[in-house]
Amino acid sequence: MPDKMMPDHWGYVFAAYGFAAIAFGGYWRHLARRSRDLLSRRRGKEGGAA
Amino acid sequence: MITAAGLRKSFARTPVIDGVSLEVPAGTCLVLLGPNGAGKTTLLRILATLVRPSSGSLTVAGVDALRSPEAVREAIAMVAHGSYVYEDLSALENLRFWATMGGHDASEGRLLAALSQVELEAVAHERARTFSSGMKRRIGLARVALGRARLLLLDEPFTGLDRQGRKWLSEFLLAFKGGGGAVVLATHSFEGALGVADRIAILAGGRLVLDQPAADLSRDDLRRLYDDLTEGSPR
């Protein structure tokens, strides 16, 4: 395109989207792991009490 | 003065107070006996609005203590493990501070009179840093004497007091009761406590295992009951 004022820098765009994906995905996995741990611990306790 | 029902308090899943109900009418003294770790201090702190119970109801001086603790604080005075003494202030200055904070008369004559009641007038102008723990305890008692409290909560008040001090404290408590005030006194030693008690309760493992009028119990009965009831609970 002739009207380019700036080069495209796709690398930066992908870096930004990649970072966001890692951050949100990582947080999602962190949440999943914690809730699984808590649920299994609770079940373990209930099992122990029964 | 106090009506408590079903008080419970847990710290990190462990119940410390496990369903305590008690009644302390005006003009009487309840002595709480129990080994260390039985929950005496926690119970006293609940009554003093310092700890919120997990469940149960508590009325102090006609006020719901859980809903409006601020109104209850007008009516109570506490002598706890900590003496509320500032090390860098003199005995007199300590009293002036607490009397002013409590909204009481803080004139020098009044403060000195309270100090002489606990026999500290000789050291009125000395820094508390040099005092023994018994002397600090006595400053705490003088602080109570300055106020207009109707309910007095005492945690191990006899520690650090000599024979003279114990006698003074017993007289003070009797006079306090005579004026229509109520007293709750927690201790693990029988000495001194029995002279002022109208009712005796034994706390073990967070429960009241005995709650009887003091007149019904002789010292030997009490000693035997105490040993039976607190056996196996943590010391």
């Binding site: - | 700890v51 002013t100 904070m101 409590g102």
Partner: protein, 226 residues
């Protein structure tokens, strides 16, 4: 005087008396300020122009560092002999205690600041006499802002483990606006410009002070509460 005023006053009286009697710590705070002066000098080198330009920032950095060490002091004495508990059991509006502590901190900070400003004037050869009035206004507003949040957070962190770490971590980010405003205003004042030039900064400071004070008065009871 009302009961509220008497309570605030007796807290102020008690804290200042305590501070005066444990002189060595106040002296250490002055000595610390003096050390800061030397360190700034070494860090920036002997270039006078550069020092002059950085002076307002250094001055306030010094105050903030002194505040980090000094603002928590009025709560240390409360930890001995369970005095916290005694304060909690006093009837009436707990914000009177906050007000007393805040005033004590304000007085302490002002004393340290006056000494530090004097030392700056001597060591960095700044003529302060001409700008004393405007400088006092900036110092006053900035110190109120620093003490208002500082007193609130110091009360909180006095009862938390890793107090020395947590207090700055909480206080410093919140103090960014106060720092920006005071440094900018000090720059204007030391540059010999009239105080009106700094009016927008002073308004911002005054507004921030009011917000911090109101929040402090309203929330202090929750920090003290059982």
């Amino acid at each position: 005087m009302t009961a509220y005023g008497r309570r605030a006053w007796i807290v102020l009286w008690k804290d200042l008396l305590t501070e005066r009697r444990s002189k060595e710590s106040l002296n250490a705070l002055f000595f610390f300020s003096l050390l800061l002066l030397f360190l700034f000098q070494f860090a920036l080198g002997p270039d006078r122009e550069r020092l002059q330009a950085a002076l307002p920032g250094l001055l306030w950095l010094g105050f903030v560092l002194a505040g980090l060490l000094g603002l928590g002091r009025v709560f240390i004495a409360e930890r001995d002999n369970d005095c916290w508990e005694g304060l909690l059991l006093t009837p009436g509006d707990k914000s009177a205690i906050y007000l007393g502590k805040l005033l004590a901190n304000f007085v302490l900070m002002t004393v340290v600041e006056v000494v530090l400003v004097g030392l700056f004037g001597v060591f960095y050869n700044v003529d302060l006499w001409g700008v004393l009035g405007p400088l006092a206004v900036v110092l006053f507003l900035g110190t109120v802002g620093l003490s208002a949040v500082g007193t609130l957070f110091a009360a909180m962190t006095a009862q938390v483990r890793a107090r020395e770490l947590l207090f700055p971590v909480l206080l410093l980010p919140v103090q960014v606006p106060v720092l920006l405003a005071t440094v900018s205003a000090t720059q204007i004042v030391l540059g010999g410009q009239p105080l009106a030039e700094a009016a927008s900064w002073l308004k911002l400071l005054a507004g921030a002070d009011v917000v911090y004070l109101v929040i402090g008065l309203l929330t202090f009871e929750f920090i003290l509460d059982a």
